[in-house]
């Protein structure tokens, strides 16, 4: 696992471009956070530093309830969607060609191509006819469904043409099917799975229309709450709770970063992380 030759495959300005891209991604977030500390309720007018909006969030049970709902729904749906998508991707890419392959790819990508509002209304009618009332479970089912293609695409992109020689080697060395998957295939696939899971998570976290229609009593999510502030206007309270979400995600990443560094510093040969570069050593 030595460094590949510096220079080869490197291009001028790549780093600068990436920095600019991150500036593009983070500039709006910076502004959003700054205005969560603004005393005024108007975004454009800075009238002084204040923690009022955070205090309001603390007092607002509805917005907290919605935020928790959002996180719970996103986490569980991501889990389901990623597992289902991984199984489907493995089957489709490794299964060779078979009748129903195109249909299956079409099916998995279907949730992506139907306009959201149509899915929303269709599923609303469908659930009502089934008299399905699982509370937050209704929303989880709907989110899992439309998250599957978002998880599926990166995993499939990763799998297509992925070197199978390591897996064959493992099988030749009499590791069981499960062991091969656990110690060879899964680590190799990890960047795809991770990408897919992250996409599912943020897609679920942001969904509005489908949730609005599908959510039964007690299942309002944060986006639904925010969009329903029409008559009042969106207040910096929303900035405040979004900043909290942002801080939470930064915290999670920092913890991950620290943990993974520790794992990384463990001598090699002991697991998944060393495998991930396997195909090109």
């Amino acid at each position: 696992m030595k460094r590949r030759h510096l220079g080869v495959g490197r291009y001028h300005g790549l780093g600068t471009w990436t920095v600019l891209c991150f500036a593009f991604l983070y500039l709006p977030i910076g502004i959003l956070i700054v205005y969560s500390f603004n005393a005024s309720s108007l975004a454009m007018t800075w009238t002084g530093f204040s923690l009022d909006w955070y205090a309001k969030v603390l007092r607002n049970d509805s917005i907290q309830f919605a935020a928790v709902n959002s996180l719970v729904i996103a986490t569980i749906s991501t889990l389901f969607a990623t597992v289902i998508a991984t199984a489907a991707a493995l089957a489709l890419v490794r299964g060779g060609r078979f009748a129903g392959q195109t249909a299956s790819i079409g099916l998995v990508t279907l949730p992506l191509v139907v306009p959201e509002i149509v899915t929303a209304v269709a599923v609303l009618i469908f659930f009502a006819h089934l008299e399905l009332n699982l509370g937050i479970g209704n929303v989880i089912i709907a989110h899992t469904t439309f998250c599957i293609p978002f998880a599926f695409m990166p995993i499939r992109a990763r799998l297509v043409g992925m070197d199978t020689s390591l897996e064959q080697a493992a099988r030749d060395l009499y590791s069981s099917e499960w062991q091969t998957f656990r110690y060879v295939t899964a680590p190799l696939l990890m960047p795809g799975i991770l990408s897919g899971a992250m996409l599912s998570f943020v897609i679920s976290l942001d969904d509005f229309i489908i949730t609005l229609m599908v959510a039964p009593a007690g299942a309002t999510t944060l986006p639904v709450y925010i969009y329903s502030m029409i008559r009042q206007g969106i207040t910096p309270e929303v900035n405040a709770i979004s900043s909290v979400f942002f801080a939470a995600s930064v915290l999670l990443v920092s913890i991950y970063w620290l943990l993974s560094r520790r794992v990384m510093s463990v001598p090699k040969g002991s697991g998944a992380n060393n495998m991930s570069g396997g195909s090109r050593t």
Binding site: R4, G9, Y11, W17, T18, C21, L25, P28, I29, L32, A43, F80, A85, A87, A88, A91, L92, G96, T102, S104, G106, L107, T109, L112, V113, V114, P115, E116, I117, T119, V121, A122, V123, I125, F126, T144, T145, F146, F150, P154, I155, A157, R158, V160, G161, M162, E177, P191, S195, L199, L205, P223, I226, F245, F246, S249, V253, Y256, S279, R280
Partner: protein, 300 residues
Amino acid sequence: MISLPRNPRTRTWLGLAPAWLVIGVFMLVPIALMAVISFLEANPYGGVHFNFSTDAYVQIAFEYDLMDDLVFNPIYINIILRSVGLSVLATVVCLVIGFPVAYFITLQPPSRRNFYIYLITIPFWTNLLIRTFSWILILGRNGVIETPLLLTGIIDDSLGMMYTNGAITVGLAYSYLPLMILPIYASLERLDFRLVEAASDLYAHRLEIMTKVIIPLSMPGIVAGCMLVYIPSLGAFIAPDLLGGGKRLLLGSLVQLQFATARNWPFGAAIAMILLAFVVVALMIYAQSARKRARIEGDS
């Protein structure tokens, strides 16, 4: 721990079963329901009457004018074309911004790659509506971009960046950038760098290495990314409304309008069916080319 059946066909279908079950029941059936609805009569207060009617489809290309005469009506066709154009533009912008970034991340040591991937998605933990809202403060009158230019006298009036197609494109690209970067990354990350080195040893030019080796090898990721950006862009309504000023209807808002304000479910469903038909055709072309590519790769 479960032991899988030996027969490869059975295994394939076993892997696909959960996806078929979930999407089949909770997506396919409701969509079939929508297809039926598109051929029914609208109930004035939302919902439908159970009478067969092709009104909804006629309405897409023809209209009854206010005097109830049937005339050709390009409005909806224009809306569809306009939406497709903007989505293509947003996809191209995402690809141009996203590909180099995904590539840059792949060049990092493995320990740092996941960290970068998180950095890409962190902004998306915050709500899309207020993130898009921030762009008003950046692009708008007296915003982050204009204020310094105004103060230094480089410009003396608003640039009018807001409420334009350009602003919509920025908003769309911003909303969907991770959907482009992550699949490309997933695909690039398994790129065999020995191929790049080999090409370099054979005195291939840097540009050639990029266009003849790296891009072709990451094609599955690029295609996946383009689809993940293009399709949601078609139905987007936040950026068009907030940054574009909602002056020209796009598909997302049009379908929304039919289901909500106009309460014309069959028409909304019909537009969705047309849209679906478009995408299905695109998907079939994609599947065809993927199969061809697979064959070529298999031969080599």
